[in-house]
Symmetry: D2
Subunit: 336 residues, 4 copies
């Protein structure tokens, strides 16, 4: 029985704890740690059958019975805890991003070099049934050579401005998933990026130094072209779509809905909106990514999303930021 | 240049006149006749370049220059005019139904026996792009052996009760098209029919001795099963769909819409309603059926919808009427 | 903590055990019983944390710690075990059907009369997200008064003929779900039924005295009309759809698919097939129905699907059987 | 009766002649002119009832009976013939583009200044039922303020390289329609453009100095962002879609198909491909644009697509060309 420790008992930490407990055979959550450990969280941990709930995550790192650590703490602590966990010989599943600072990510990659530790980054969309189906169509040659990749990614509503101030901005907290999807879908690297954007949702976002709406174009290493469009607010729900177009045809994926019900009346023919909430939308993907990581650890397989895969989208995001600031295309090689 | 005379200058007569004038090369409408010939109709005929507008249709039958007659008059006159036109050696395109009286239809069929006259019945749906695509899928074996045929046929709104009183009832004025579609889609004959129905739209229809909502099941000569559902009122438009299910799969056709626009907002994801009006929905089919008839005349081909094809749906309709009245399955062989 | 005993360790028994263990807080499976208890099943039970695995279900009924019994054994044992469980004061969740014999079902209903036992029948589709959305649209008045209810229900492939011989036939093992859906969707009772059918999939099914393809029409107590079409084989998957049409419009539900991927190429625009396997299709519904039952027990609520709800579809199924045999409409009041 | 002369008897000239003859009441084509006037074209003109077929278009300009001239000749003659027709006092419908040379377009605009001549440019998509529905949704406020406009525009196959050599390149012969659509949909002006592209379809296109695949982003005067993706080859047909996303929601339009047929089998659920051929796809739009122009002439209304509307997309196209060449965003104000 693989023993798991979870660092960070916020929303995503709890999601992982519950999905491991329910779905992952041969693994159990032994401990959870959070600097702001509430009575409520303790009660929840107890109900979930988690043996230990700590305030200090070092107790998890120090526990020789624990094989795997999930880092679900705030972003600014990811790289430091990663380094400590690697030093302690724990396998690490780290929520994205590893850091916004390229040097800190590189330090994690360096630490992994001579280590036997498995390290996976939490790009959950790679495990989503829709994105996987699109990737499979591209990979298996069903659309021929990829020519154009289009990603639509719009949140149902903007996060609090307080979050935006520390998030690294739209390209590093939101588009980062889409940058990962560009790499995942295309099997190629982004070489150059150009971004345009605006403050069209909430002026407070602009005052915080960020934009809320963007279109980013990219040139890929395989000659294909890619484009992402983002917005912090879509009235109809969480809008996550991909279109991959190639020499033999196109694969497109749409959103999931709560039901297939369609109502026809004098107003029109109305289907359900996309699922609104990312946890609901990607619940199965959260289970699948952690299951895959545990499988990689147990059976000594390669992880699905490496620390390098964690670095690349940050580089692209920083290039996009620079592109927006300087209104010119920016090569990824200019960054880091 | 084929010369055409149109008997009946109501809605459908005018539709045919306009579509021949616009689309059918090598044919022209020389004359139109209507017992209630208005100044407006005369002006319309003149604008259309129709040389003659008569009150008495016998003038059309007597004109040796006219090759083809389109019978677009009221239903109760179809069989009589058919007989006269056949006797006059005119090729006849007759709007459906030939008559509600089986004997009168048989008289037309008998008159055709030793004649060289081409005779086609106006079951326009056989020429509709959607129905043709479904038929082609069935005929070409794409769904294997037909097992279940389902037809949904709902009008946007009920006709005036005055019409219902003389129409022969729902099975003879509305379902008759669907009975034809059962034969067209299946390539088989209806052997037995069972009908249930109700007055769910308008009590006045019930007072007029008819129903406004029905489900009719049928056993076909090839062993397949069929079902039609009808209603005189669909708030969302003219609803005309078919599903043909067989040993290898299914083909389904839906409705046409004015555009492909889909609006997503807080209320849902809303597409356009089906086209509301049968003339708009089937405009291309009206052109195609008359073109096909002219082609059959000019090139001495078999007509697409024979007088026998005009008889069969009337037999099925009368059997459905009897089934509803007696609440039991009725064999077609019991009728006529 | 509610203690549950499961009688029958076949496919569905295991499904319930796993879903309770994973998803139902405040309840646990204490014991499972199966007359053919294999080592494999024992190992599975052990891995699931089920304390006891018996050959004889009476040990479950005799255990005072057990509050709830799930009857997942073969159909012919349902009513007998129900009676014993009720006598033992256990709350009962019984897989459908309670029995094929109306008198035996009535005996269960009678036994419940003076008992405080909760009894729910396993019509899982009532808990499916799509069917619930359609029901909600009807119930909330979104389509006005119900006029026509259409259910398509086709299995991906026929069960073994050995099963068909004991299943009670297509109307009692397959259509029974659809009969329940007619009542659920309409909120009305079936008063009269007429069935046509054929052996179009496999002659062996005919030799076993059953049909494999059917259309059943029904008159409902609220004046609405209903129709079900069934087939034992749909090459494209498990096809479960409903269309409810009324005075204000229509609600329609389609199938679930593994992903939303659509591939466009020279062949056409191709989406995924419906989910193939009923367990996968209805997994969430299995969880929801048992959760609802446990909630009814714990909080003394009315059960969602009563023993009477278990009786009614059997009556309709027997009427359909009689209708097919005698080729005439049969009133439900003629049965039982 | 308005008399029309058509200059250029190629494909599009004939399309206009036929649609006017069939559908436009109160107008007739009196003459057609083409420097390469074949016997076949003469026979066609005769069959269409066109009185005159000339080799020299000056005969049309000299005919005082002719009110309207349609310029359907090769692109390099558009501006010169426009100037002559304006001088002759003819109302002009000119196929797009007026010219590739900004100065020549400006000369036409200047010539119109003190003239009473109506001048419309042939941007047919503005009259397409789908594009109009999307425009209407935006204009009427159904999606709130426009934030992101996405246009997908892919041809079924590349034109001959000989055409590409004289066409002005992808941005001026293909994307020009999409640039017009950006203005039409948004009701705003393009201020800055950035283009990336590649030769992914046919190396011969690259050798001719052009690209065959492109993504173009734009900043609009109302603050919205726009993106177009183009490819010269889509195996599944002529792919013309728009997505307009705003503060209240989104409107999206898809392609038209030959039928609504959907075939479900073991391979998947397959719908028809988009219509393949632009003439078929936009036939109604060709009729509508000429009808609108004739209406503008007869009733002295403003034309739907002015000479200025003809100039703007050329400016954007030239900016896109410069952007691609210099790999930097280019302001429209830098051009012309």
């Amino acid at each position: 029985m693989i023993q798991i420790g979870i660092i960070g008992a916020g929303r995503i930490g709890k999601v992982h704890a519950e999905s491991i407990t329910r779905f992952v055979k041969g693994a159990e959550v032994k401990a959870i740690a959070d600097p702001y450990l509430t009575e409520e969280t303790k009660a929840w941990a107890n109900a979930m059958g988690i043996a230990e709930a700590y305030g200090d995550y070092h107790k998890i790192l120090a526990d020789p019975a624990i094989d795997i650590v999930l880092i679900c703490s705030s972003t600014d602590t990811h790289s430091q805890i990663s380094l400590e966990a690697i030093a302690a010989g724990k396998h690490v599943f780290c929520e994205k991003p590893i850091d916004h600072d390229v040097e800190k990510i590189k330090a994690v990659i360096a630490a992994l070099k001579d280590s036997k530790v498995k390290y996976q980054v939490g790009f959950n969309r790679r495990f989503d049934h829709n994105f996987m189906a699109a990737r499979e169509a591209v990979k298996s040659g069903k659309i021929g050579d990829l020519n154009i990749l289009k990603i639509t990614s719009r949140d149902p509503g903007a996060p609090p401005v307080s979050y935006i101030k520390v998030s690294g901005g739209i390209f590093l907290d939101m588009t980062i998933h889409d940058f990962d999807m560009v790499r995942f879908m295309s099997g190629a690297e982004v070489e150059e990026v150009y971004a345009i954007g605006g403050v069209l949702v909430d002026p407070a976002i602009g005052e915080a130094g960020d934009i809320d709406t963007a279109i980013i174009t990219m040139k890929l290493s395989n000659g294909a072209l890619a484009v992402i469009d983002n917005c912090r607010r879509a009235t109809y729900g969480y809008d996550q779509r991909v279109e991959a177009f190639g020499s033999l045809g196109q694969v497109a994926i749409g959103n999931d809905t709560d039901s297939t019900a369609v109502i026809s009346n004098g107003e029109g023919v109305t289907a359900e909106k996309p699922k609104l909430f990312f946890l609901e939308r990607y619940m199965q993907a959260y289970v699948a990514e952690v299951s895959a990581f545990i499988d990689a650890v147990v059976n000594d397989k390669e992880v699905a999303v490496s620390a390098e895969d964690g670095l690349k989208p940050v580089l692209i995001g920083l290039a996009a930021k620079k592109s927006l600031a300087e209104n010119r295309p920016v090569k990824i090689s200019e960054i880091g």
